[in-house]
């Protein structure tokens, strides 16, 4: 049973315990608008950490009311990031969101040994994307860019993070397709070997709570008809929930086809830290940012 329509994330988020989100440097590019929309839908409590004056001016300019939203005044980006991370690690907030600040700056704080959000596991990015031409079917794409060229063990960590997230959003046994350019094992194509190893680790229970199969070319992972034409028999073929990409180039290109060529909405979150991190790009739409907040809040529970 594949999942459809990302609106369920908002319902799921609104129906549970209300989480508090700390937003570092929420300056523009729809971040503020998304936080206000999340408030209006009663999804989360928000704390904006940054230059208070700047935040108020931006809100006024965009005609946004900041009622019910807490502001913590920190003038510099560096201190705003540190403060917001400390709020999450100290328990004053349940999840973190990146505003208009460099990802590297945020991650440096997140990985701080004393007051950061390290949990001893691997950090990875998961993006849920809704595909209109497939009836709103949702695909999870991972890793979207935290790990450049993951080895087999790293790929296991990426899968584990994604599986935990899928369990939280109500998918008990996600189908995971390890992607390559082809659906056969080819000794000259390293990612097909990793895919075969991951499939076997899934068979042997070394990877739990999901079914992993591969290698798949993207078509036979997402389309039952394409899988049939190739004669592939697998519960994952055509039914993939999560697309595991071999490296950052693949993840970036597939993700951007979805966002820029198919113009779809999605929800993205960084997993594997003690609390989820909502890390959207400045080009993501307001709706994608709002859905990402909802996803992050559900994962934070």
């Amino acid at each position: 049973m594949t999942i459809h329509n990302l609106d369920f994330l908002m319902d799921l988020c609104a129906s549970g315990r209300k989480m508090t989100i700390a937003v570092a440097c929420p300056y523009g590019d729809d971040a503020l608008a998304a936080v206000c929309a999340a408030r209006d839908r009663n999804l989360v409590n928000s704390v904006l950490v940054g230059d208070a004056e700047k935040i108020r001016v931006l809100a006024e300019k965009d005609g946004l009311s900041l009622d019910g939203i807490e502001i913590v005044d920190e003038k510099t980006d560096y201190l705003a990031v540190e403060k917001s991370v400390k709020m999450v690690s100290g328990g004053d907030a349940d999840l973190l969101m990146k505003g208009l600040v460099k990802t590297a700056t945020l991650l440096k704080s997140v990985l701080n040994k004393e007051w950061g959000l390290r949990a001893g596991s691997l950090l990875s990015h998961l993006f849920l994307q809704e595909i209109t031409v497939m009836g709103g079917r949702i695909f999870g794409l991972t890793d979207g860019g935290m790990n450049m060229y993951p080895d087999l063990q790293t790929k296991v960590g990426i899968i584990e993070n994604a599986v935990e997230c899928y369990h939280k959003i109500g998918v008990a046994c996600p189908m995971i397709a390890a992607l390559a350019a082809v659906e056969v094992v080819n000794p000259d194509m390293a990612c097909t070997l990793d895919a075969a190893a991951l499939a076997k680790m899934s068979d042997r229970g070394q990877i739990k709570g999901c079914v992993v199969d591969g290698p798949f070319a993207l078509d036979n992972a997402v389309s039952e008809e394409a899988a049939k034409t190739k004669g592939i028999r697998s519960p994952v073929a055509g039914n993939a929930d999560i697309l595991l990409v071999p490296n950052i180039e693949c993840g970036n290109l597939v993700g951007k086809v979805m966002t820029y060529l198919a113009k779809e909405r999605g929800a993205g979150v960084v997993l594997g830290a003690r609390k989820p991190i909502v890390l959207t790009s400045r080009f993501d739409s307001m709706e994608t940012k709002l859905l990402s907040i909802a996803l992050g809040a559900v994962v934070a529970r």
């Binding site: 070319a217 290109l253 820029y260 080009f283």
Partner: protein, 310 residues
């Protein structure tokens, strides 16, 4: 000529070539499938391609009957050995009797082996043979050419330069006077830890020094800044290619194949493909392709053949 911006315009252009220069001749290896024969019949009726069907005569006849196509308009060469089918079809092209080499039901290995055969094949010096997908996507007003997502697995810089030049030639055959070429990576900055960003920088420079011609190359680009002007602007990228890429060169088969398949399955698009870099256009479609995709590939081959003979 006017730039071809939709794949329907490509068909119109092929028809125009047929009218002005006469139809091109397609040599089809193992033409034993009804869907394929109906695509070939459509190309014939539109006046841009006649076909020579090589394969088992009885099977060709049965497929034509199933497609409701009269074989009186076709030359059929009866050959039942699959290896020989490839050799005979490709020899028709290298001898000049046919203009385009096309794959039917023949196994890809046999088809390509014939294409690369030193005596009767279509090799052109040391040039790399490459594949190109061409796409139209809803919301964009021109054709995207993506290479190489199918033929070369992990091309090095020299092979990428060939792939790039092959693809630029196809874009020019589509009337793109000076194609804008984006060399894709995951990021738009040079990063020593990401080899494809280094290749992208080198290809850009090879273009500036005149080693790659008839186009404007830039890279590395992430896909967004190659296709979206707004995104390029936000990132502060100043380049004539940013936001306007016609041609996109992918780092390797894994990234290219996933990207193309995401396009095909996740967006509203039309897609077909062609093999480039041989002495004549080569059409390699898969059995899963629709007759329309096969027809579009033949039309592109006709356009390329006309361009190469200019």
């Amino acid at each position: 000529m006017e730039q071809i911006r939709t794949l329907s315009a490509l068909l119109e252009y092929a028809k125009k070539i047929g009218k002005e220069q006469g139809p091109k001749t397609v040599s089809v290896a193992m033409a034993e499938d009804a869907g394929l024969i109906s695509a070939l019949e459509e190309a014939r009726a539109a006046g841009f391609a006649n076909s020579i069907l090589v394969g088992n005569g009885a099977k060709i006849k049965a497929a034509a009957e199933q497609a409701g196509v009269d074989l009186a308009n076709y030359k059929v060469i009866d050959e039942s050995n699959e290896g020989q089918m490839g050799m005979k079809s490709v020899a028709l092209v290298s001898s000049g009797e046919a203009d385009i080499y096309m794959k039917g039901q023949i196994h890809t290995n046999n088809f390509l082996r014939a294409m690369l055969n030193k005596e009767v094949g279509l090799r052109s010096g040391k040039n790399t043979i490459s594949h190109c997908y061409f796409h139209t996507v809803e919301g964009f007003d021109h054709v995207f050419f993506i290479a190489d997502a199918a033929f070369n697995m992990y091309p090095d810089l020299a092979a990428k330069a060939d792939i790039l030049q092959n693809t630029v030639n196809l874009a020019r055959a589509f009337g793109v006077v000076e194609p804008k070429v984006a060399v894709l990576a995951a990021v738009e900055v040079v990063n020593p830890d990401m080899p494809c960003t280094l290749d992208a920088a080198a290809l850009t420079q090879m273009n500036r020094r005149g080693q790659i011609k008839n186009c404007i190359v830039d890279g590395p680009f992430a896909l967004d800044n190659a296709v979206s002007e707004e995104s390029a602007k936000t990132k502060g990228i100043v380049s004539p290619v940013a936001g306007h890429a016609d041609v996109m060169i992918v780092p390797n088969i894994d990234a290219g194949n996933m990207m193309v398949k995401a396009l095909v399955y996740f967006s509203k698009n039309e897609t077909a493909g062609l093999i480039l870099g041989a002495t004549a256009p080569v059409v390699l479609t898969s059995r899963a392709d629709s007759p329309r995709a096969k027809l579009l590939s033949v039309a592109a081959a006709v356009a390329l053949s006309a361009f190469q003979k200019k």
